[in-house]
Amino acid sequence: MFYPKELKYTKDDEWIRFEGDEAYVGITDYAQSELGDLVFVNLPEVGDEVVAGEAFGDVESVKAVADVMCPVTGVVLELNEELLDDASLINSDPYGSWFIKVGSITDKEELMTSEEYDAYRG
């Protein structure tokens, strides 16, 4: 499993990449591997508020559905619409496949470094 150093991680297997006061959110290599072939992503709307530790969307594989939790509280600025057409991009490139871009961030969950996350998931 690969966990890039420049990202932060949650215990629910999301990654977050901060760029200034905005952030991109996706799911980790571990998460996509556990879920298997992903076939559908449900995302919020641009302008929706998201809350740290609460679900903002879900991903579905052939066999299962999983909530995707937001590591930060803020407002959705942008969606990765490519994922709506082809969820399998998350399997092939979990760190290129961000789900949402969040701005106006006011709070965040406890986050792990890549080393900590690696120790957590192995």
Binding site: G36, D37, V39, F40, N42, D58, E60, S61, V62, K63, V65, L84
Partner: protein
């Protein structure tokens, strides 16, 4: 505690992701993943461990009468070397299980039932046994693999003499030889594709598995697991016990009228099934026209009213979109009609469609 099939170590060695299913530890997928395994069966070939299935021997001078009493299908004209599917009903017309009966010889039948129902089925059969019938649960003695896909026959011919390969769908050869291993080979399956199910002494299952994997290597044969077994059977609209069928759902409601022979003198459940005409509920296919994946136990709406619920649903890899099977009020069942399914609070647009979703070209 969960049981292991004789192929458990093989699954681990092949990288299978192990889960509990029907009381057994079985792989849900291998490294290729559900989609690739599904596509292999539709386009080339896949190999499944189905050793968890139950096997019950029904023997004796009254064996045929017994089958005709406890099963809804008619076994009067079944010949040795042939197989026939049937639901098994309770007195209320609900379904105890669905199974396949293979006729080995006069007064000698081999019945294959769903893993999770084996003990229940055997107890049910014993409770309704008539004089002149012997029943034996031999589930632990057999391993079973399913070789499924358009290249199945080509691959099987590499390891088995042609005379041991059953030619017709739902036929079987009981005394086949597989590289010195005594096996039963039937031309059956649960994928909607051509293929074979091979029964062998449990301890020999790994040898049969390895020989088939080697034989099929150049033809794209890959190991396939429960995830693909479920998506394949769903694409072919085959019912799965506990979903489209259960102790309360009658086979007629589930769309299995072809296997319910009302002109038989009598069978358990006949009176109740007769009384349930016209049918209040029926099975239907749903195709998602909006966005979302359907699962089981979701409410189906027409014109704002709940008319039924889904029994199975997922993304079907070969067809490339999301489908479900549902049981709905007969009056609301109209092929082509728009409907909605409540997916965790979100209404997803669907269309009622005929079954099966996929039918192979012959």
């Amino acid at each position: 505690m969960e049981k292991k099939t004789p192929l458990y170590d093989t699954h681990v060695r092949y990288g299978g992701k192990i889960v509990e299913f029907g009381g057994f530890l079985l792989p849900v997928q291998y490294e290729a993943g559900v989609k690739a395994e599904h596509m292999a069966v539709r386009t080339k070939c896949g190999l499944f461990d189905v050793s968890h299935m139950g096997e019950i021997l029904v023997q004796g001078p009254k064996a045929k009468d017994f089958l005709n009493l406890i099963l809804t299908n008619d076994y009067t004209d079944l010949q040795p070397g042939f197989a026939r599917y049937s639901p098994m009903c309770n007195e209320n017309g609900g379904t105890v299980d669905d199974l396949i009966v293979y006729m080995k010889a006069e007064n000698d039948y081999f019945v294959v039932v769903n893993a999770a129902n084996t003990d229940k089925d055997f107890a049910w059969m014993c409770d309704h046994k008539i004089d002149g019938v012997e029943l034996k649960n031999v589930s632990d003695e057999y391993g079973q693999v399913a070789l499924q896909g358009p290249l199945a026959e080509k691959i099987l011919k590499k390891v088995v003499d042609e005379k041991y390969i059953p030619a017709g769908y739902y036929t079987c050869i009981f005394d086949a030889d597989f590289k010195g291993i005594p096996v039963m080979i039937s031309r059956t399956g649960y994928t909607g594709e051509d293929g074979f199910e091979i029964y062998m002494p449990a301890a020999k299952a790994p040898d049969v598995w390895e020989a088939l994997m080697t034989a099929g290597k150049d033809d794209g044969l890959i190991p396939c697991a429960l995830g693909a077994r479920d998506t394949l059977r769903m694409e072919a609209a085959m019912p799965l016990y506990g979903h489209e069928l259960n102790d309360e759902i009658s086979p007629k409601t589930a769309g299995l009228g072809f296997a319910v022979k009302m002109d038989k003198p009598d069978f358990i459940g006949k009176a109740a099934i007769e009384a349930d005409q016209p049918l209040k509920h029926r099975r239907v296919g749903l195709k998602v026209t909006g966005r979302g994946i359907l699962r089981e136990h979701l409410d189906v709406y027409r014109d704002g009213k709940v008319v039924g619920h889904t029994t199975s649903g997922t993304f079907l890899p070969y067809l490339g979109s999301s489908y479900a099977m549902a049981i709905v009020e007969s009056g609301a069942r109209e092929i082509g009609a728009p409907c909605q399914v409540d997916v965790r609070g979100r209404m997803v647009d669907c269309e009622m469609v005929g079954l099966p979703f996929y039918k192979r070209e012959k």
